[in-house]
């Protein structure tokens, strides 16, 4: 086994260990973790059997297998980034709703407190 191949296998294993560890500690949710696990498996297969990459490169008509890898990695990262922005947008929408609900609850609470004579922040006027 070539030195670079050993290095690649080790790196893949490290990435996989990291992913599993993150899931185990609940830093990473399973639904987001699956895609990373699959990536690790792909990396591992590619580094154990070098023929896979050359085969895929020939299949797509790319001369150098490394270029195929770069293309794949680039495409993969773009997709990941896009899906992350989708997740962020969805989360901020939820956050907005929660903020609005919270402010409304606080308002109602102050109002009720005032009505039953518990006091509250001064000047709060109920609707006429």
């Amino acid at each position: 086994m070539a030195r670079i191949q050993i290095l690649a296998v080790l790196a893949s294993l490290l990435l996989m260990f990291l992913t599993v560890e993150l899931i185990r500690r609940k830093y990473l949710e399973e639904k987001y973790a699956l895609v990373w696990l699959l990536t690790c498996i792909f990396f591992l297969l590619c580094s154990i059997n070098l023929e896979i990459l050359s085969f895929l490169a020939r299949l797509t008509g790319i001369l150098v297998p490394a270029n195929f890898l770069f293309l794949l990695a680039f495409f993969f990262l773009v997709v990941i980034c896009l899906s992350l922005t989708v997740v962020v947008s969805r989360e901020s929408q939820r956050q907005r709703r929660l903020t609005q609900e919270l402010s409304m609850l606080k308002f109602n609470l102050e109002e009720i407190k005032k009505r039953v004579g518990l006091g509250g922040k001064g000047g709060q006027k109920g609707p006429s």
């Binding site: 956050q95 609005q100 402010s103 606080k106 308002f107 001064g122 000047g123 709060q124 609707p127 006429s128």
Partner: protein, 261 residues
């Protein structure tokens, strides 16, 4: 009297908010005033309470649209019939609220927008058909001091506003003179529509698109804007290009979006 709610979204307007609330209460005594405090870091909330407004405190700064929407949800929850939205920096004149609400009360429109660029032809409820060009006639009843303080947008802003008013006029098929105006009034139909969904950042332009897609009848009436009495604008020269591009995207994408009526 019909239940009217005046919504004022604010962020760090300690200096001006008290005066604005008091002015509104003086010129529209029957209305309730709701200040939506968008996570101010100063005492805007306390200042507003002191002047007799109801205050909705958002725990962090969420953006203008989110603040306005909070007010609309509040109005819907409590069954307000009409809602007016004003700025908390003293740039809008509370005396114009009556004219703003009039078309709603008469059932002539679902939403009314105060336009800085529409000429006062005869009645204050001059319609959209006011002709283009010509010097902007000062509105009747503007006091001398108010006239002195009248706000004139900078050249860059006028270009931006012109761009969007042209674009919207083409897209919506009606003349839109002031797409960036934040002086709005809505009836129940508009309130329940916009309480469900309201654009979070720089909402004014997109609101016009959404109203059009939802089939709401929108009318512009002439209004004057004064210089701000305190605080700073949220739009700086640095981020203005990005904002314009963002608004452009939301306008064009908005035309293709499906709107739940």
């Amino acid at each position: 009297m019909d239940k009217i709610l005046v919504i004022i979204p604010v962020y760090n307007e300690t200096k001006s908010i008290g005066g604005v609330v008091r002015d509104i209460r003086a010129s529209l005594p029957g209305a309730d005033v709701l200040v939506v405090n968008d996570g101010s870091t100063d005492d805007t909330s306390g200042e507003a309470r002191q002047s007799g407004a109801m205050v909705l405190d958002l725990p962090c700064n969420m953006g203008l649209g989110v603040a306005v929407q909070s007010g609309l949800i509040f109005a819907q929850d409590r069954g307000y019939r009409f809602v007016a939205r004003m700025d908390g920096d003293g740039q809008h004149r509370p005396t114009e609220l009556r004219a703003l609400l009039a078309p709603l009360e008469k059932g002539e429109a679902d939403m009314v927008v105060g336009s800085r660029f529409l000429k006062a032809v005869s009645a204050p409820s001059a319609s959209l058909r006011a002709g283009p060009g010509g010097p902007i006639k000062k509105q009747e009843g503007l006091t001398a001091s108010a006239r002195l303080n009248e706000y004139r947008p900078s050249l860059a802003r006028r270009i931006g506003i012109g761009l969007f008013s042209g674009l919207l006029s083409i897209l919506l098929g009606t003349r839109v003179t002031d797409p960036n105006s934040g002086l709005h009034a809505m009836n129940h139909k508009s309130i329940s529509f916009f309480a469900k969904e309201y654009p979070p950042d720089y909402p004014e332009v997109e609101v016009r698109v959404m109203a059009h897609k939802a089939g709401l009848v929108v009318r512009e009436i002439p209004s004057t804007m004064l210089h701000r009495t305190g605080g700073v604008s949220s739009i700086t020269s640095l981020n203005s290009v990005y904002i314009v591009l963002e608004m452009l995207t939301s306008t064009i994408v908005g035309m293709f979006r499906r709107v739940e009526r």
